[in-house]
């Protein structure tokens, strides 16, 4: 049998053969030859057509074969790679774990970035949703009243549909268990406007709201459903008590959906009118004012831009509608009539999802992204150096395969397959690492009050895709160059002497690893020191166990002097309340957003040099409760009554601001020119007042008995420290309600928790960067160990000869490891320079320390040196125990 012809040749040959046979047969039957040919062709039919058909079929077949062969070689490559990797399990495990750590932290952080910034709202077309607010003060925003909402909705066509909601904390009771959760009372079109379908059951619909009445139905969040009911699908139709009223569960919202505010996630949704059924009678939501009062801004608004409407046009129409409302109702509308000020402001719902500290959050996540990327780069460098070290060992094998005819391309493919197999394993383990990292970080709260736990960050979907993308990227990064280099003739030479090009490549990678590690360790140290400093600043306040509840006296008809009397009675009551160890009142609670600054006028000041000082009107044991220490003079006391001399206590910064060049104690200032002077009777230390980074904000503390008019009646807080186990918010509510039924009560907060929350970015950063630094150290140690071990083993022969010639150990080490030492040193230096830049970039996230913090840099350098030294122990011992007799009997260098 002869060989097969090509596809087109075969088609021609086969048909031609047929014709020849037919011609022969015809001639045999007596047909003349030229006539025979004609009749043979006629019998065959359209030869060109058949030929083309046969060729096409042959080509298809060939293509199929080629695909099959290609798949077969890929499978063969993978098998071969798997065998190779299996033969050196230590190396394989090291590489896979290194990659998995690098990939895992990236996937984990990307999951956070995705859930917080890229895709924060699991709603339909989130970019078409617009949040609508009324402006208040400078740059502040607030909600809208129900009448205004109705008029806005009726008068705006470009926002369709519009929806509104109000939130309140409620108790939800299932059996014997009651949980306090955040509830949203929503208009009937809320779910439709957001485009959020129910996960099971149904969402709330316009039919659930009938004017000021509603159906007692509730939709649970996915999280609440799983917490209370263990994801039981039979929950729809069951009845639960919300705020003491029975509600029928009609549905469960889709996973991740918790309203439009990431920092204030909603656990259940009820029809708007039902808010009155779930709040106590004294609540501000209890009366008819929620429907009738135009100045009561309890609703949050969202609108979906109608098809084809630009955000600008939508906003413009809203503003026009709002102006029309303001023109009709005047000041009673609570909308500004000032033509120079927009009565409404809009924000994209996606960015409004994080309402406060969004910039800090973006800064933090950007910085951390850079850090995790650096970690991955480090992992890749490490893997490259490990593979390069092994590559020189394998060059003999590759040289053999090349000499028996394997093409360079084939070898490159083989080596690349090995990298890809390593990458794939790294990605698979990396996803597990990401899941573990997510669990480790779950309890953290990001800036802006975004609790990671509520975001449902997983390792599926986009983060999962990222893992594989990174794996392929890494495999190519650490695989291609070495593969190309090793597959050529260079590999052969390289194997001969460890000190040639391969050795240099390894040393460059060694330096790079050390450099990246230094940057990461310095970063971790800076964050750790920030947190430490933050906690140190914190000692200015001892707010652990302190609860504050704020209330509005002037809204309840109180004037200044009456407010002072009220505070005295309140303090008396709280002092006798069971479980309360110490009580105080204040117009400003540390870390509360609201504060009032006055331009105080110091005595002996003819000029206009007044200083802006924050005023805090306090009573009771305010200073001792929060641990604010007296430095000079006395604290405010019971003797500072309204008919005594007006007095104040300043903090150190305020004293300095008012009288930069002389002692403040005993001097006087005026709140405004013409008002009676206030005498400074004491100086206290600076304490964190508004945020951790501005502990030195000037404050003047004045007694409530004298200055209740200075903002105290607008919003004041009662503070108590209670014994453990006391429900302090409830206690405060009861006491205030008992004194003044119907007094508007605002939120209660745990001041100690708040102070800790302020440090959230630093804590989160410290935890994550610390984790990464640990990984980096580990990876560097492995890299240093591997590189130096390789250097020693490659030069065993040289070492043996030196020992035989009587060299002392120190000299041997100097000769053999000198270059590796230089590489580590260069890496350290380079890393320090890099860390300097990194620290400057992260400056906004640090406080209490300089970016170029000598302690952090020094500690990082020492740590890296220590780790390097530890990694050197084994290879150095190996070098010193080389037996010259054995080496000299060997033929030559053994790779």
């Amino acid at each position: 049998m002869s060989t097969r012809p090509s596809a087109s040749e075969a088609a021609r040959l086969e048909l031609e053969h047929h014709l020849e046979e037919r011609v022969d047969a015809l001639i045999e039957a007596g047909v003349p030859p030229d006539e025979a040919r004609r009749r043979a062709e006629e019998a065959l039919g359209d030869m060109g057509r058949y030929r083309r058909e046969l060729e096409r079929m042959a080509r298809e077949e060939e293509a199929r074969m080629r695909t099959r062969e290609w798949v077969a070689t890929v499978v063969q490559d993978i098998r071969y790679a798997a065998r190779t990797l299996w033969r050196s399990p230590g190396l394989t495990v090291t590489v896979v774990l290194t990659l998995a750590l690098g990939i895992g932290v990236n996937v984990s952080l990307f999951g956070i970035v995705d859930a917080v910034l890229l895709d924060p709202l699991p709603v339909e077309e989130p970019e078409r949703l617009v949040r609508i607010y009324q402006p208040v003060g400078e740059g502040g925003v607030m909600g809208t009243s129900h009448p205004n909402y109705e008029d806005l909705r009726a008068g705006t066509e470009s926002m369709d549909p519009m929806a509104a909601w109000g939130t309140t904390e409620v108790g939800i009771r299932v059996g014997e268990r009651t949980d306090r959760v955040n509830a949203a009372a929503v208009t009937g079109g809320y779910f439709e406007a957001l485009g959020v379908p129910a996960r099971i059951g149904r969402a709330l619909t316009p039919a659930d709201v009938q004017g000021r009445q509603g159906t007692a139905v509730v939709v649970l969040s996915d999280r609440l459903w799983s917490r209370l009911f263990g994801r039981d699908p039979g929950v729809v139709g069951r009845t639960v008590e919300v705020g003491g009223t029975p509600f029928q569960i009609v549905g469960v919202a889709p996973p991740r959906f918790a309203g439009l505010d990431l920092s204030d996630p909603v656990a259940l949704w009820i029809p708007l009118p039902l808010i009155q059924e779930v709040v106590p009678e004294s609540s501000i939501y209890a009366g008819d004012q929620i429907w009738e009062n135009r100045v009561f801004p309890w609703l949050s608004l969202v609108g979906r831009l109608a098809p084809g409407v630009s955000p600008e046009r939508g906003a413009a129409e809203l503003v026009a509608t709002a102006r029309a409302i303001a023109a009709t109702h005047g000041d009673a509308s609570n909308l500004t009539t000032d033509p120079s000020v927009a009565p409404l402001v809009t924000r994209p719902a996606v960015t409004a999802a994080i309402s406060t500290d969004r910039e800090t959050l973006v800064d933090l996540l950007t910085f951390l992204s850079a850090v995790v990327a650096a970690t991955l780069v480090l992992a890749c460098i490490n893997v490259a150096s490990l593979l390069l070290a092994r590559g020189t060992n394998r060059s003999r094998e590759l040289a053999i395969r090349r000499s028996i005819g394997a093409s360079r391309g084939r070898l490159v493919r083989q080596l690349l397959t090995e990298s890809l197999v390593l990458g794939a394993l790294g990605a698979a383990v990396g996803v597990a690492v990401a899941a573990a990292t997510n669990r480790l970080l779950a309890s953290f709260t990001l800036p802006g009050g975004v609790a990671l736990e509520g975001l449902g960050i997983g390792v599926g979907g986009r983060p999962f895709a990222l893992a594989w993308l990174l794996a392929v990227g890494c495999a190519v990064a650490f695989g291609v160059a070495p593969a190309w280099k090793r597959s050529g003739n260079a590999g052969e030479r390289e194997g001969r002497s460890g000190s040639s090009r391969g050795g240099r490549g390894l040393r460059i990678l060694l330096a790079a690893q050390v450099a990246v590690s230094v940057v990461l360790v310095v970063g971790a140290a800076l964050f750790a020191r920030s947190v430490q400093r933050g906690l140190a600043v914190d000692t200015g306040l001892e707010a652990e166990g302190v609860t504050a509840l704020s209330f509005g006296l002037s809204a309840h008809g109180y004037s200044g002097p009456e407010g002072g009397a009220f505070s005295r009675r309140l303090l008396d009551r709280l002092g006798e309340a069971p479980g309360v160890t110490v009580a105080a009142v204040a117009s400003h609670v540390p870390l509360a957003p609201r504060r009032m600054a006055f331009r105080l006028v110091p005595d002996e000041s003819a000029r206009e040099d007044r200083a802006s000082i924050n005023v805090n009107v306090v009573g009771g044991e305010y200073f001792s409760m929060l641990g604010i220490d007296l430095e000079e003079g006395r604290l405010l006391g019971a003797g500072d009554t309204h008919d005594a001399e007006n007095v104040a206590v300043l903090n150190r910064s305020a004293a300095r601001a008012l009288w930069p060049d002389r002692p403040a104690l005993g001097r006087t200032f005026a709140v405004m020119r013409g008002l009676p002077p206030v005498r400074v009777v004491g100086i206290v230390e600076d304490a964190m007042a508004h945020s951790v980074s501005d502990a030195d904000v000037p404050y003047a503390y004045m007694p409530v008995a004298q200055q209740a008019g200075m903002g105290w009646t607008d919003e004041a807080s009662a503070l108590v420290r209670t014994r453990p186990g006391v429900d302090a918010p409830e206690l405060l509510r009861q006491e205030l309600r008992a004194m003044e039924p119907g007094l508007p009560l605002y939120g209660a907060r745990n001041v100690g928790d708040q102070i800790r929350d302020v440090l959230a970015p630093q804590r989160f950063g410290a935890r994550l960067v610390g984790l990464l630094a640990l990984v980096a150290l580990l990876v560097s140690a492995v890299g240093i160990h591997g590189t130096v071990s390789y250097a020693v083993s490659a030069r065993r022969h040289e070492i043996g000869i030196r020992v035989a010639l009587g060299a002392v150990p120190g000299r041997i080490l100097g000769k053999v490891l000198g270059r590796e030492g230089v590489a580590v040193g260069a890496g350290l230096l380079l890393g320090m320079v890099g860390a300097r830049y990194a620290a400057r970039a992260a400056e906004s996230l640090l406080f209490g320390i300089q970016p170029v913090d000598p302690v952090s840099f020094g500690a990082a350098a020492l740590l890296l040196l220590g780790v390097s030294a530890a990694a050197l122990v084994r290879p150095v011992r190996a070098a010193l125990t080389v037996d010259p007799r054995r080496i000299l009997t060997e033929e030559g260098p053994q790779d």
Binding site: M1, S2, L13, E14, L15, H17, H18, G45, L54
Partner: protein, 125 residues
């Protein structure tokens, strides 16, 4: 007569009839090769022609796409060799799967022929 039908339909074939033709031709090829001899295309056609006393008239070229199709399906195997007359030719033989296919088609044809025959007999009676 099958042959007559094929000849007529060869000029303009509708889908169903093409399938019938294809099926018929493939069946005949399988049957021819089932004798165990390796044969080239012309020999296969020649044998069918002689066995059916020239009743089967078909455009001869149509045989080759059919052979290639059957080879692709794995019913036939082929090799290039030299014919009795010393010419280079492609020789076909039946594979195991081709033999199975033939058995199936034979059963089918038997039933078909029998059914047609029964109708013919019924019409005659």
């Amino acid at each position: 007569m099958i042959g007559a039908a094929i000849e007529r339909e060869n000029t303009r074939m509708s889908k169903g009839e093409l399938d019938l033709l294809r099926g018929t031709l493939e069946f005949l090829v399988l049957k021819t090769l089932s004798r165990g001899e390796d044969m080239h295309g012309f020999a296969i056609l020649d044998w069918i022609r002689r066995t059916t006393d020239d009743d089967l008239v078909v455009e001869e070229g149509a045989l080759y796409p059919a052979l290639h199709r059957m080879e692709k399906r794995g019913w036939l195997d082929s090799d290039w060799g030299v014919s009795d007359k010393g010419r280079r030719a492609k020789f076909y033989r039946l594979t195991r799967s081709g033999r199975t296919e033939l058995a199936g088609q034979e059963a089918h044809w038997d039933r078909y022929v029998e059914a047609v025959a029964r109708i013919a007999r019924a019409a005659e009676a």
